[in-house]
Symmetry: C2
């Protein structure tokens, strides 16, 4: 593997000139540039990142920490981050927490060892104690996505979760549903808490109350949502409608409904939060509250790169995006079938 010295020798210039040409870090004459570039090409020289990083103290790598890359929501996010970063000359380390806080910490420590230049973090908890641990582990510009963390001084880019919860609940309330089951995520995660808050507020606006018995937490896991749905529908007085707080849980609920031989919206209505790419080929075409994932991610990475470049960390910003209701076939007034021109389930 050739070094910068070889290039300098070949091009007949000084080492520092080669460095200047490569990094455009000092003015260079056109003639020198071409000579250096030719030498680089001939030798097949590539700067050694480890040496650059060691010497400069900056790493040109951004860490992306997500719950589960297998979830289309996060793989879409990772994809966008990768592209934007590449464009800005950064590479990305993508890691999964599996929604496990200890593992999150372990990954953050690894990221620190790698001296990543910045972090995009979808954290597993939102409490202040977690915020403190985060600050202990993180020493680089960071933007939080998805769920906020109390007291953590980082930019936060996410869906307006209160609005999302409200949108889902309103849709059902308006149709006349009252016995609504909410399949929530995980207590302690702001996206769960705030969506729930949105639901509660919607109920209140209708002069109603969302009772605790109507809320079941499925930890954002499809199988748990499946179990909760089956259990709820088997009860003496089953819900007439279901709200699910995430894509995988919506899928779990759909599977449960199908396995029970229930139809939607005839037997039960359903609204899920998060987009589902192939919703329209499903037996039960769910009405969904979608997030503008691309815009959100671009904004996040933009904010991150900005705070990396000008090294002074600013006042933490909170940037919220509005959810969009995408209507399909899973909602109708309770207790009767609907004829909307589409066959359902």
């Amino acid at each position: 593997m050739s070094t910068i010295r070889d290039v300098a020798r070949k091009a007949g210039v000084a080492i520092s000139t080669v460095s200047a040409v490569i990094n455009r870090s000092a003015p260079t004459s056109a003639g020198v540039v071409t000579r250096v570039e030719r030498a680089v090409a001939e030798i097949g020289y590539m700067p050694q990142r480890a040496a650059q990083t060691l010497r400069s103290g900056r790493s040109r790598v951004i860490g992306v920490v997500v719950p589960d890359i297998t979830n289309p929501h996060f793989s879409a996010l990772a994809r966008i981050v990768e592209k934007e970063c590449l464009h800005a000359g950064y590479m990305t380390f993508v890691y999964n927490t599996d929604e496990d806080t200890d593992h999150e910490m372990r990954i953050l420590r690894m990221m620190r060892m790698e001296r990543v230049a910045g972090l995009i973090l979808i954290s597993t908890r939102s409490d202040a104690r977690h915020g403190r641990r985060l600050q202990q582990e993180i020493h680089v510009p960071t933007v939080l996505m998805g769920s906020a963390v109390s007291g953590a001084p980082y930019d936060f880019v996410a869906l307006d979760d209160v609005a999302a919860g409200a949108l889902a609940a309103e849709k059902l309330l308006k149709l006349g549903h009252r016995r609504i089951l909410v399949i929530g995520g995980r207590p302690g995660v702001s996206s769960h808490t705030l969506r729930l808050k949105g639901c509660r507020e919607a109920f209140r606006r209708w002069g109603l109350r969302l009772e605790n018995e109507q809320i079941r937490c499925a930890n954002f896991i499809a199988d748990e949502a499946y179990a909760e749905t089956r259990h709820a529908m088997a009860a003496g007085l089953p819900p007439t409608a279901i709200i699910s707080f995430s894509n995988f849980m919506t899928l779990g609920a759909i599977r449960a409904l199908i396995d029970l031989g229930l139809r939607s919206p005839k037997d039960v209505s359903l609204v899920g939060v998060d987009n589902l790419e192939w919703a329209d080929v499903m037996r039960l075409r769910p009405t969904l509250v979608a997030q503008p994932i691309e815009a959100m991610t671009r904004t996040a990475i933009g904010a991150l790169l900005e705070s990396i470049e000008r090294r002074a960390p600013p006042e933490p910003r909170r940037i919220l995006f509005q959810p969009v209701l995408i209507e399909r076939d899973s909602c109708a007034p309770p207790g009767r079938a609907v004829a909307n021109g589409r066959r359902d389930l």
Copy 2:
């Protein structure tokens, strides 16, 4: 950020001793070990990877190059690689080629700059010219997955594509289908070519011939498969069955069939290659030829780590896994509906 000197000073030992303790690279007494470890903990010391890499010439990072992380097949793969690598003390760089050969080369060059210790590569082409370019760009142990590359001296771990193609075709042929449309991937990619070969062989075994008009390449892209399906089904004499060579293309075909108001297996049968996690909640529950993705990936990463550790690159191996037919509701004899106890479409 503290350095190894700080630790040495704090623990009252030599720098080289600290290094020996951390890397277990030389015998050390128990007393020294505890003293060093306490010092590390107290200071919060973390070795700087860039310095380790620079000095040792080894990087502890493995590059993973996939077509599209958004495809569940590849995100599952990435997940498994990440976990296995972490276990072995490696990190992973995951990058998307977007099925673009130039971009693949660009990524490989980046990987080289990063001095990755090894590569898991799902390449975009299989021809010998590509094999030569690969060898120019790659200078580390590598294992190819998914599609082979002619003349490239790397281990290859994949599905037995000929068997997969044959399995799909046999299933349909056995039911009596003759007008079968094959929605292929991309010419020049071995997974496409070999699956096609499998189909051809199956036809031959039945004394039939798969005509070129029956084959349409959709480049592994859902939208193109959608278009091909719509087009084929609108023809004067539409196919009675469809074979799709990848998960996204199967989804595209399903969407097309649904949009056309066609039912499966009543109007047309369908077999797809690749698993589809949520196949059972789809309007059209497709029979699929599945790959044992987890076993394949574990094998690949095992082979890679092995050739990284003992540095002599061995004879390239080819390890093939057998496909498994997962039957659902999308297959029946041509020209008549089937009553199998499940409602379809």
